[in-house]
């Protein structure tokens, strides 16, 4: 299968993720959308790696996975802390998020 298809798919996933970040307000969903964006990058990396050979892209993708996991852990931790304090976890209701 040509590289273009992989690229198109990864671009589609990236756009879905970015669109979700822009429109959704629940932090949990936001984190999911960020995951989509990161995995779009992973897909592109692995596809290109297949094209170029070597291992660079695969290693990069592994690194990205590790980092993505870290980010989610921290994000969930903060959300739990907010939840425990009975604070709203809808970013629109957050006092200081007004630009």
């Amino acid at each position: 299968m040509a590289i273009e298809w992989y690229l198109a798919l990864s671009a589609l996933i990236f756009v879905i993720g970015a669109g979700g970040v822009l429109t959704r307000r629940n932090p949990l969903v936001l984190l999911l959308c960020v995951e989509l964006m990161l995995n779009a990058g992973n897909l592109a990396l692995v596809a290109f790696n297949r094209m170029h050979g070597g291992g660079d892209g695969q290693i990069f993708a592994l690194m990205v996975m590790v980092v993505a996991a870290c980010e989610v852990v921290i994000g969930l931790g903060i959300i739990v802390a907010l939840y425990r304090r009975h604070l709203p976890i809808d970013v629109d209701e957050m006092r200081e998020l007004q630009g």
């Binding site: 290109f48 980010e71 903060i78 970013v91």
Partner: protein
């Protein structure tokens, strides 16, 4: 990254500053496990300071090093060393500011310093990286601890919100960066900077894949450096985060973000300069205008400095755009100077947060000229320096940036810096006027000794657990000393800039490809 790693010799000497930071982070975490308040209040911050001092010493030792490390993944050269100094000094100042700032019940001591040291380690990796993978790892090692640091006041709503917002925005930036890197890798077929530069100087400079990747990568960096239009998070996060962490983000993170832009754009992507330079120049101009206009109406000092930081990111980008050795020097010089001026200002803000119940409002500074001249003078110098007034370090810094842009044909960017400085006078002078021309509001002073800080009051039931006795140790002596030191340094560098100019010239030497 290709080739067998086995048998590779490692230049431990050049790597030593990074190892010191990593080791220090672990030691701080382990020592923090010992019980007792003495350990938490004195030993742990002391160890953090020691780690940073050792790192600084190792950097002095490696001052003239210029070598590739770990199969070309990292490069220790003038840029790495000079910017690492900036990170280390920022880290030391942050340790001093956090020492008595955070409530011990509310925020864990050792974790805080471990996170701080890890973040500094990430910054060093970031500016040393000359491979997309290492760059990304440095970027995340810098960012992830910072998310936690922003949210470290677990019982204060603003802090948590700030951390969450920074995390979401930062992750979006990282994801954009990764996607951009993936495309660049796809176009160039390698992740090493040298390989990318080689591939581009062939026939790739107009490749759609490369240009798209480049654009996405620049957007990713722009998030971190708070370059408009990706800056909206900055005022919120700066305001919500604990003041010492804000100071750290404002100075060190900015230095790291611009340092990596310097290496990424001026080494890996230099052959494609005509593709990115005009676009980045426009970003710089927009950032200058947006930042300065945004700062105009602010009454919170942290928000004001956040917007001013956006504007200053615009000034700094001018030094990146020109793609000359002069530009690199100007950027590094301004980053060092920016550290001095901002740390002086943030030390004063933190001191007033402890002394009054007005938080970081401009009102907290009213009448400071007569009541606390030792805080008022550093703040005045810092504000004048940020505005670029002569005889302060900020003047020489802006001068170098304007010189670099005019010399490379970007006169209009130089003009934008001047116009931005004009606008900025309005809000910097407002702060100075508050200190020298207004009377102190009644009852603002000396609240610190009587009760919990107002940021906590009423925030939750848990806040009331914090016993009043704890506040007796929240003096501001070390902050005054710090403000005076950084204020004096701002002045001295403004009058005798030659040593710091030589220091910045060291960074310029790191890029032999530039002229």
């Amino acid at each position: 990254m290709n080739g067998a790693a086995q048998g590779a010799s490692v230049d431990w000497a050049a790597l030593s500053p990074l190892l010191a930071l990593a080791g220090g982070a672990l030691v701080v975490l382990m020592v923090g496990l010992f019980p007792g308040r003495g350990v938490r209040d004195r030993v742990v911050p002391g160890l953090a300071l020691l780690t940073l001092a050792v790192t600084a010493g190792l950097l002095v030792w490696q001052y003239d090093t210029s070598t590739d490390l770990l199969e070309g993944a990292l490069r220790v050269d003038g840029l790495t060393v000079t910017l690492s100094f900036v990170f280390v000094v920022a880290g030391m100042a942050t340790v001093v500011m956090t020492w008595r700032h955070l409530d011990p019940v509310e925020s864990p001591g050792p974790e805080l310093y471990t996170l701080l040291l890890s973040s500094i380690g990430g910054m060093v990796v970031l500016v040393a990286a000359q491979d997309l993978v290492t760059l990304f790892l440095g970027f995340e090692l810098l960012s992830i601890p910072l998310y936690v640091l922003c949210a470290i006041q677990l019982r204060r709503r603003g802090s948590l919100e700030s951390g969450l917002k920074y995390l979401v925005v930062g992750s979006v930036g990282s994801a954009t960066l990764v996607y951009g890197f993936a495309l660049i890798y796809g176009a160039a077929g390698t992740t090493g900077f040298a390989g990318i530069a080689e591939a581009i100087s062939g026939d790739l400079s107009s490749d759609v894949l490369l240009l798209a990747g480049l654009a996405l990568a620049i957007v990713g960096f722009a998030f971190k450096a708070s370059v408009a239009p990706f800056h909206q998070w900055t005022p919120d996060v700066y305001e919500g985060a604990p003041t010492p962490i804000t100071a750290f983000m404002a100075t060190a993170t900015k230095a790291a973000a611009l340092g990596v832009l310097l290496r990424f754009l001026d080494v890996a992507l230099l052959p494609a300069a005509e593709a990115w330079a005009p676009a980045v120049a426009v970003l710089a101009a927009v950032t200058i205008v947006v930042g300065n206009v945004g700062a105009l109406g602010q009454s919170s000092l942290k928000r004001l400095l956040a917007w001013s930081g956006v504007a200053q990111a615009g000034y700094l980008l001018a030094g990146v755009v020109v793609g000359t050795s002069l530009g690199v020097q100007a950027t590094v010089f301004y980053l060092a100077v920016y550290l001095l001026m901002n740390m002086a200002a943030f030390a004063v803000i933190a001191a007033r947060e402890r002394e009054t119940n007005l938080g970081d409002s401009v009102d907290a500074l009213a009448g400071l000229g007569t009541s606390r001249p030792w805080l008022a003078w550093p703040m005045t110098i810092a504000m004048l320096a940020l505005a670029g007034f002569p005889l302060t370090a900020g003047f020489i810094g802006k001068f170098k940036l304007i010189e670099a842009s005019v010399a490379s044909g970007y006169t209009w960017v130089g003009l934008m810096i001047v116009i931005g400085s004009m606008i900025s006078l309005a809000y910097y002078l407002k702060v100075i006027a508050a200190m020298w021309m207004r009377e102190a509001p009644a009852g603002a002073a000396a609240v610190a000794a009587t009760g919990p800080r107002p940021a906590l009051a009423g925030a939750s039931t848990e806040a009331q657990i914090t016993a009043p006795t704890r506040h007796t140790r929240r003096g501001t002596g070390e902050l005054t000393v710090m403000a005076v030191l950084f204020g004096a340094a701002t002045l001295v560098v403004g009058i005798v800039p030659q040593p710091l100019l030589d220091f910045a010239a060291k960074a310029g030497e790191a890029f032999p490809g530039l002229f």
